[in-house]
């Protein structure tokens, strides 16, 4: 079947038929001739100028809008913003070391306006401790999660995407780490090194990556079989491009939810370590405050309840945000349009 147009393949213009007039479309009252051909090109195709090339951010705006309309997510976000503000303002509001003794011990909350949340058994300001403790909790929670996510994503996506012996080796590695009870591993890691914020953070990251890796691996295993991944391969995309641009966005919702829960559990792990006295002894954290108040639970229960509530609400806020992000980022869950 010889085609006369087979010979020439114009390199510049995609298609000669498309080299249409780019002058602005005429106003109403088309001539009969125009009317007859109005459906050959969509009428607005001619307005496809550079102006419309800059409207590619609407999807991000839409996700943000969905997120901001979600009351649960907003509650969580507001509380988290409060915690972040507390962490940032702590050195300004209470420049003094929160571990220094400033008043009579056992001032109950609400009885002394200078110490709204009272003082503990050594006369240290509880509110100052809560604010400074927020710094440690957030720092450890976020940095440890970033470490865990980075390691887990790389290992999980490699194992899930490539499969075969790569998968076998990496799954064995994940299983070796997972057979050790994570909190005991954490205690051992912190006990070997000196208990400092950096060591605690790194150790929490190390014990939390296998969860991410397993999740990412299972998502990738499911998604790599999808038709659109085969279609992407048929377009000549390389492995890294397919992993990052085609599969990862589809695997994100569970990863995002997990990462917000990971921040929460990292905060819990740090608190538990501090509670056991394995935290940094020179810094106050919510966990160490609970640990200090434990022996006085019957007489001064507020010493454990106040930092405990701080942990509960922060963890809850992170979970609410995770759910809200999941709803917003997955276009199939949004009922817009």
């Amino acid at each position: 079947m010889s085609n006369p147009d087979t010979a020439e393949r114009a390199p510049v213009v995609l298609n000669p038929a498309l080299a249409y007039d780019r002058s602005p479309p005429k106003p109403d009252a088309p001539t009969p001739n125009e009317e007859r051909w109005s459906n050959v090109h969509a009428p607005d195709a001619m307005r496809a100028t550079t102006a419309s090339a800059e409207t590619g951010t609407t999807s991000a705006n839409r996700a943000l809008r969905v997120f901001l309309r979600n009351p649960n997510a907003m509650t969580g976000l507001i509380f988290l913003v409060l915690v972040v503000a507390a962490a940032l303002l702590a050195p300004v509001l209470y420049p003094e070391d929160p571990l220094s003794m400033v008043a009579r011990p056992f001032i109950w909350p609400g009885t002394n306006s200078t110490y709204p949340l009272g003082t503990d058994s050594l006369g240290r300001d509880v509110l100052s401790g809560i604010l400074h403790g927020a710094r440690i909790s957030l720092l450890v929670g976020i940095v440890a999660t970033v470490i865990g996510l980075a390691v887990g994503l790389i290992i999980g996506s490699t194992a899930g995407y490539f499969g075969g012996w790569v998968d076998d080796v990496l799954v064995k590695l994940i299983e070796i780490v997972q057979t050790l009870p994570s909190f005991i591993l954490l205690v051992v890691l912190v006990a070997i090194a000196q208990p400092s914020v950096a060591v605690v953070t790194g150790a929490v990251g190390i014990v939390s990556w296998p969860t991410v890796a397993r999740l990412v691996r299972s998502e990738f295993r499911a998604i790599r079989e999808k038709d659109y991944v085969v279609a992407a391969r048929s377009l000549g995309y390389g492995h890294v491009r397919i992993i990052i641009r085609e599969i990862l966005p589809n695997a994100l919702p569970p990863i995002i939810v997990t990462s917000s829960v990971m921040v929460a559990s990292a905060i819990l792990m740090e608190s538990a370590l501090s509670f056991m006295g394995l935290g940094d002894p020179n810094l106050v954290s919510w966990g160490s405050m609970i640990g200090d108040g434990r022996e006085l639970l019957r007489t001064a229960w507020y010493l454990t309840a106040i930092p405990g509530l701080a942990i509960v609400f922060t963890v809850l806020a992170l979970n609410l945000i995770g759910d809200g992000l999941n709803d917003a980022l997955n276009p199939r869950f949004t009922d817009e349009r």
Binding site: M1, S2, N3, D5, T6, E8, R9, L14, N15, P16, A17, L18, H41, A42, D44, A45, R47, A48, T50, S52, A53, E54, T55, G56, T58, S59, G163, G164, K226, D227, Y228, V230, A231, A232, R233, S234, L235, G236, Y237, G238, R241, R245, E246, P249, N250, L252, N330, P331, R332, R337
Partner: protein
């Protein structure tokens, strides 16, 4: 068929650990030609397409054969070279438009991705080209639709988007694997018309994989009939429909309701080919022998050679030329 051959497949065999779904398959596609590959489910059509793209599943192996694409043997290229060929020179459209688009990326992103990779366009230039392409495949309001997600489009629109992605870099060969199977009948004709128009405008060759003989009559230049991984007949569509030779082709045509004008499918049952394609497994001779109405003892011992009864015509059945059999088979069993 005067043009030089663009794609030439010789003795292609694809092997899974236990079965060989494509066996000794040979065919040619000229520049600008539409080749239809026809056969029922399980005859190896889709695997042939994937083999051409070197996208076979891991368990499958190409054990023999050559695939020459404009002078290069695709089976000898390394991964990097084949990747630069995919999407740029050979593109593919899949059967399921519902699942072949990435659900979390806008269609604009998916079109521009390939343009930026293969043609090195800037984001803005690629976006403009994507709008042109959406217009080319007749999507209304392309500059609005470009930011839509696949779930906001109908099945026919999604297949148009798939086509836009496939032709974005002006491939020389487009493989369409049952492009209309998942679509409504009214949309089918539109999509095939679109493919045919693009083939002419972009001077592509087209491999149309289908089990719908109606498509073949209207859009193909040349037809390969496959059964159980082998080519059993090849002909120009007019010749194939006027005088089908292979018993399998005859069975297919008899099973199709459109070919007898005075016959309506409500008048009575359509003729079917007895048995199923599974019976071809383990056959030493002609794979169609267990279902063939004119089978002879010799058919089951050796694979029939491809005979050349006329110009541009091949058939893998010697029995059909024996006196009398032709008549029996032509009656439709």
């Amino acid at each position: 068929m005067a043009n030089a051959s663009l794609l030439s497949v010789r003795d292609l065999t694809v092997k899974f650990p236990r079965i060989e779904p494509v066996r000794n398959l040979s065919f040619d596609v000229s520049e600008g030609e539409t080749l239809a590959i026809v056969g029922e489910s399980g005859s190896g059509k889709s695997l042939t397409a994937l083999a051409l793209m070197r996208l076979l599943p891991k368990a499958a192996q190409i054990t023999s054969g050559r695939i020459d694409f404009s002078g290069r043997d695709l089976l000898k290229l390394d991964d990097r070279s084949i990747r630069s060929l995919r999407g740029k020179e050979i593109a593919m459209i899949f059967q399921e438009p519902m699942t072949s688009l990435n659900p979390v990326l806008t269609i604009g992103r998916q079109i521009t991705e390939s343009l930026r990779l293969h043609e090195g366009l800037s984001a803005k230039a690629a976006r403009l080209r994507a709008i042109e392409l959406l217009d080319l495949v007749r999507i209304p309001a392309p500059h609005k639709r470009i930011d839509d997600y696949p779930h906001q489009l109908s099945g026919g629109m999604r297949q148009r988007v798939m086509i836009a992605i496939a032709v974005a870099c002006r491939p020389r060969l487009l493989i369409a694997d049952e492009p209309t199977t998942a679509l409504d009948v009214t949309i089918q004709a539109q999509v095939l018309d679109l493919l045919d128009r693009l083939r002419r405008e972009l001077s592509m060759a087209l491999i149309l994989i289908t089990h719908d003989l109606g498509i073949v009559t209207q859009w193909a230049d040349n037809v390969v009939v496959m059964y159980a991984g082998r080519k059993v007949e090849q002909a120009l569509p007019e010749a194939l429909f006027a005088d089908p030779l292979h018993p399998y082709t005859r069975g297919l045509l008899n099973a199709s309701p459109r070919l007898k004008d005075d016959y309506h499918y409500t008048d009575g049952p359509l003729t079917e080919i007895p048995g199923s394609i599974v019976s071809a497994i383990g056959e030493n001779g002609c794979p169609f022998a267990p279902r063939c109405p004119i089978v002879r003892s010799g058919c089951r011992t050796r694979v029939p050679d491809l005979l050349v009864p006329a110009e541009d015509r091949l058939v893998a059945c010697p029995v059909i030329f024996a006196e009398g059999e032709r008549h029996v088979a032509a009656r439709g069993l």
